[in-house]
Amino acid sequence: MATVNDISKSVRRVDAVSKCEGKAKYLPDIDFRDCLWARMIRSSVPRGKIIKVNLPDLPSGYCFVDYRDIPEGGHNYLHMIATDWKCFAEDEVRYVGETIGLLVGPDRTVLADLIDRVSVDYEEQIPAVTIDEGLACKGGAFVNGNNIHCHLKIETGENADEVFKRCAKIVEETVETGFQEHIYLETNGACCCPEGDGYVIYASAQCPFYIRKSIAPLLNISPEKITVRQTVTGGAFGGKEHFPDVLCGPLLVAAHKTGKCVKMVFDREEDIENSVKRHPSKVVFKTGLDKEGNILVMDSKVYYNVGGYLSSSFVVLQRGCFHVAGCYSFPSFRSEGFGVATNTFPSCAFRGFGAPQTLFAVETHMCHLAQMQGLDPLEFKSRYFIKQGDTTSTNGKVVEKVMIPQMLEQVLKASDYRRKVKEYKIGSGRGIGISFYNHGGAFTGNGEQSLIKAHCRLHKYPDGHVEILCGQTEMGQGFHTILPKIAAHVLEIPIEKVVFEDPDTSRVPDSGPTAASRSTMIVGDLVEKAAKLMKDRYSKESEFEIETEYEHPEGYPWNQDTFQGYAYLGYGWGVCAVEVEVDPCTAEVAVKGVWSSHDGGHPVDELIVHGQVNGGVLQGIGWASTEVMENTDGHFRQTSMSDYIVPTSMDCPRQGVDLVDNPYEWGPFGAKGLGELVFNGSGAAYIDALSRAIGKKINAIPVPTEKVMEYILHGKKLGEAD
């Protein structure tokens, strides 16, 4: 696709060699001289009152830090969109792993011994763990009198209740998804150092500006008193969006108390047991059909397991509801979302941010609606593809050209789908499935304009170098290369002349979080604009700066109170086919092929995009298949990489990757969001393929081998009603 002067032509990633050589310094690799170490003391019960924390005698130089160390005027909460998540538990705990305090001291071995001798006395209460238990207020409601943290309702077209009255058939179905653990290869870690009259935080994190905003109220200081420096970050996937605040808050209080640098790095078991996960979900559909089997109305209730505290989950739930219509347009549509309080570790961001759950649900439901009528899912889904100008789930319009038909053709051809669908009989042990998905790029609605107001600066130095100053982080997705490439391309200078360092909040403007697939689309555009403004002056002036600010295009209104209007200006789109073969004796599933086509606008770097597609698609297959994360009685059951199984190089053959070129009007060189999109559909395609291969209806993920066996032995036949 790329021509010589095309920005899509790949360049070598600027961070590749230092990472290969082991020279890149991640948080655990940095020697903070004379720092103290911290270990977290956490709740071991899912719900209860704290009666007493029993500490061993602490040697000299060791101390315990808890909520009582927050100075007068400080607030014991972490600001993570909502402000309900406490930095330190005081008298009650709502989940296993809730922070009670820190043990701080100079020697890690001593700390490890001390932490084993801490005990906490509780008055235990009955926990609610699942969505259903939360809704039933098991043990008594603990949030809002009904355990509903948050709620929204959206509808389009004719009133759903009226339409149901004239439907020939109404189909009700529930689709569920489980917890997913991020397994960023580098676990969470941070260090807080007193410096001058403020503090410097070093963290493996996605959003440095989020951290200082979140934790400054603890000491009742202005966020500017805290400088956050991102360290090289070994993967994040949303797991380091808000969660680093949960480390940095207590570390700030500990640094305040001790006057020393305090460092904390989780080991893997600690990280898996005590970190945020993808929200488990339950989507209950009620779909009305006419007598020919056409959809007249699709109604859904979307339940997300939020856990003990709301934090960012209302935004996740909104995105879930906005995506529950998938890539389809129905005459009447309604969705109601409920964020359910439970006594599990609070759920938070994970690649897709609420969209994957509902997209999986609608794709699966659409397959079942087709199979119930003896139709091929592809033929049935094709009837409802949304197009440019169609109404979205929030009564906005689809602004861009939707290239699903072209992408579908590519995937059908690459996968030889039509032949295989005919050849692989239902229940024959082989199956191929296909899914359609999208992802609204950047913050919802007017969030970019009213909440973030991103700023970005370019600084030209006398020696000809240009520095990009913004808060965007490299966490593996390629942003250290993407932004310099955009600037270099506009300025027509070598990429080596563009400097872009890990952000330090004291010297870069706030360009918003590295999240929501917004970095290339929004901040990349600010860099492109700044570089264009710089270009004429570049050779004439020795040293100067250009600053750009996000401006929302006119004519695309959004009402955040009613959730009406243009939720997203640009969607990424995807089509994915997966082929599987099931061993009839062992029920083991082998992925035989994966083919996808994605529209992320015009790619800024083909190889980087290719890597995003490969990684996202495989992570989605993991979510649907092997990545089992159970929670019983409030405790996660999988706590290591031996029992939480992420895909290896043997679990999927080489993927067929196709990218369509669909330049986005407001993105840099026509690029739009892509990083989350690529996760959103492979799980549904995998399950479609698997259910055809075994001839059984699958309504919940993940489906590890033992579950495949259960479905084979006891599952409902494909096409059977619930």
């Binding site: 070598r12 590749a16 050589e21 690799d29 993967g235 190889l607 290591s640 895909p647 290896t648």
Partner: protein, 160 residues
């Protein structure tokens, strides 16, 4: 109880007086500053801490340092100085193998192991060879391609 241990680290003779039950990864990182050896899982599952012990790939989180006494150890710091190491690293950089990079030093060690045993590996052989190294970012395809690229570029040097 501390014991004096001697071994070769990246071509140099070194000695250390330490508890022989400390994990090799900790000694390499803390006592010798080899922070390219990454700790991903602490149980030999992820391969991020892979090193070469007498030329064989092992996970250094599972080995007590006492077992290194008298042995030859090469970490990514040493490997990246060699002709073969450099060749792999250049291929990884050109082939798009690197994203977050945390698994990558271990992956480079795995690539070296594969190519030393089999200078012309097939895709399946490469996939098997890196199956003990978990990468959460790339989906592995571009790592596989990069190892193939290193095989092609290196040609006869892998037979030495």
């Amino acid at each position: 109880m501390n014991v004096k241990l001697e071994f070769t680290l990246n071509g140099k003779n070194v000695t250390v007086s330490t508890d022989p039950l400390r994990r090799l990864i900790d000694v390499l990182r803390e006592d010798f500053g080899c922070t390219g050896v990454k700790e991903g899982c602490s149980e030999g599952e992820c391969g991020a801490c892979s090193i070469l012990l007498n030329g064989k790939m092992v996970t250094s989180c599972l080995i007590p340092v006492g077992a290194a006494d008298g042995q030859d150890i090469v970490t990514i710091e040493g490997l990246s100085e060699t002709e073969k190491g450099k060749l792999i690293i250049q291929a990884f950089a050109d082939g798009g193998a690197v994203q977050c990079g945390f698994c990558i030093p271990g992956m480079v060690v795995a690539a070296y192991s594969i190519l030393c045993e089999n200078p012309d590996p097939t895709e399946d052989e490469i996939r098997l060879g890196i199956s003990g190294n978990i990468c959460r970012c790339t989906g592995y395809d571009l790592i596989v391609d990069s190892i193939r690229l290193a095989a092609e570029r290196g040609g006869s040097i892998w037979k030495k």
